[in-house]
């Protein structure tokens, strides 16, 4: 049995008075892709923000690699190798692609090592290499998503959180992003994937959790969830 890289227990998160997470718990094990699914406003992004420390939990516990990170500052969590690619990509527009990558490798002190990782990123996403000195705001939506992922990989994450990487992309690009995630996972990266596109996510994932109004209402092996037509219809609207 592989180790739990990430564990959430009875996690509750608020935005002021708004009770966005109402006690959620799940695990992500080494080498897995876990999909977090659900309709708009279910609390998927909030779960990721809670894990990465942007919106810390008010109650409950988040454990990463055996360490309690529930109340750790976001930058400290990132330094541990838990890297979150937020909803909407959030690339640094106005800075070049190369600078975006270097920022992803902020915790890498050795410039030579940063250069090597940049080259690895370019090899993986050749489209970025061609435009390395161009303003990142000139990239298309799909390219921006590639950059957001490449930037996260600069830190060599132990766990990668991806929030709707397929959002707003044409079907062909969605496939390409999904292939990229699979490749990353096969190369050993553990992934927690938030998706609206449940079918695509479950084809990729080992395990899935379905959220509804701040709770996990269904969880299981991805194959089971895929087979469970009634549930998929009810919860995923797919």
């Amino acid at each position: 049995m592989s180790e739990a890289v990430l564990r959430l227990e009875e996690v509750e998160t608020y935005y002021g008075e708004i009770h966005a997470l109402r006690g959620i718990g799940f695990e992500v094990r080494e080498g897995q892709v876990v999909a977090l699914l659900g309709a708009n406003g279910a609390g998927k992004s909030t779960s990721l923000r809670t894990i990465s420390g942007l919106v810390p939990a008010r109650r409950g516990k988040v454990t990463f690699m055996g360490q309690d990170i529930t109340r750790m500052a976001a930058h400290r969590i990132a330094q541990l190798g838990l890297v979150h690619v937020p909803e909407g990509r959030r690339i640094f527009k106005g800075m070049t692609i190369e600078e975006n990558l270097d920022l992803g490798g902020f915790t890498v002190l050795d410039a030579e090592e940063r250069r090597r990782r940049r080259e690895a990123a370019y090899a993986m996403f050749p489209i970025l290499a061609e435009r390395r000195h161009r303003d990142s705001s000139l990239l298309s939506g799909g390219e921006q998503q590639m950059l957001a992922i490449a930037r996260a990989l600069m830190a060599r994450p132990r766990l990668l959180l991806l929030d709707e990487p397929s959002m707003g992309l044409a079907p062909i690009l969605v496939q390409e992003i999904m292939r990229t995630i699979r490749r990353l996972n096969e190369a050993g990266t553990t992934v927690l994937l938030v998706e609206q596109n449940a079918r695509a996510a479950l084809r990729l994932a080992h395990y899935g959790c379905v959220m509804e109004t701040g709770r996990i209402v269904l969880a299981g092996e991805a194959a089971e969830l895929r087979a469970n037509e009634a549930l998929t219809k009810a919860y995923l609207g797919a």
Binding site: L54, H75, V83, E99, L103, G104, T107, L109, L138, G141
Partner: protein, 304 residues
């Protein structure tokens, strides 16, 4: 004096004045760029810097003399002390308000400015303090215009500081982090960047540059007072806006331009020394009508 000499003389004056403005404008612009705060207390750090430099020089002059041997360490010590003061101000006055409405932070900045001015007022009794040095008037003659070595060192020091800053911001890890925080602080935290520490560093550098400018101005004009930061704060703000606020080369350019404008403005009949500030601020208003983002400021580029 023939016209040519007058122009040359004002060019020298303008460059000196402009480099003082530019050094102060840099801190203004950096802090604004990173946390979108118009730090009204910034001009007062220039004033505190001048006093700190004066204090150091008084201590050192018996031992190192009041020439450059005493002035240089005074500048460096003043930069460190005022840099730390900037960090402390950020920590106790601004950081608790990071999520607060902008207006609360602006009012806090005004309060910080008053605290600094009144503290120095209390210690000096509002008197002008003579900042005397042993720097003579030796220099070189260009036609009828005499440029002293002191003037050259002042401008040279400012230029070196600006170049070092520009290299730091464009080439180093923390320089990149500063620019990234200006764009998206939360995304920076996700990259492992300690945002508060980077902001503190911004305050340190900006305040240290203001202090350097303050000591240099004290050395140049020979007198300092608790109120000297007020007008230069406004001018530096003007310079930063003309250059494109948040933009470092813009702040340098804006500062130099403002200094030159002011120097040449005094020579225009009907303006003279009395009206030079009106002239400068009128220029700012006109300039903003035609180029609201400043010389080097870019309109926001957005693409989804």
């Amino acid at each position: 004096m023939p016209l040519q000499e007058i122009l040359l003389q004002q060019l020298a004056n303008g460059l000196i004045l402009g480099s003082f403005y530019a050094l102060v404008a840099l801190g203004y612009s950096m802090v604004y760029g990173v946390i979108k705060l118009l730090n009204f207390a910034h001009g007062d750090l220039y004033m505190v810097g001048a006093f700190a430099g004066f204090g150091c020089l008084s201590l050192f002059s018996g031992w190192l003399g009041a020439g450059w041997a005493g002035i240089v360490p005074s500048i460096l010590l003043s930069m460190v002390a005022v840099g730390l003061l900037g960090v402390v101000i950020d920590r106790i006055a601004y950081r608790p308000l990071r999520e607060a409405p902008k207006l609360s932070v602006l009012i806090t900045a005004l309060a910080v400015s008053m605290v600094l001015e009144n503290t120095v007022l209390a210690f000096t009794g509002g008197q002008f303090t003579a900042f005397s040095t042993d720097l003579g008037f030796a220099g070189i003659d260009l036609g009828l215009v005499h440029v002293t070595y002191t003037q050259m060192v002042l401008v040279g020091t400012s230029i070196v500081l600006m170049v070092v800053l520009e290299l730091f911001v464009s080439r180093t890890r923390y320089g990149r982090a500063m620019r990234a925080i200006a764009i998206d602080p939360d995304a920076c935290r996700l990259m492992g960047i300690d945002v508060n520490r980077t902001i503190a560093l911004t305050f340190f550098i900006g305040s240290a540059l203001a202090a350097a400018s303050g000591v240099l101005a004290g050395v140049y004009y020979g007198s300092i007072n608790f109120f000297m930061g007020f007008l230069i704060g406004l001018k530096a703000f003007t310079a930063a806006v003309i250059g494109g606020i948040g933009n470092i080369p813009g702040a340098m350019l804006g500062g130099l331009l403002l200094g030159l404008l002011e120097a040449f403005g005094t020579q225009i009949p009907g303006i003279g020394g009395q009206w030079k500030d009106v002239f400068v601020f009128a220029f700012l208003i006109l300039f903003l009508v035609f180029r609201p983002t400043g010389i080097l400021g870019k309109p926001e580029v957005e693409r989804m």
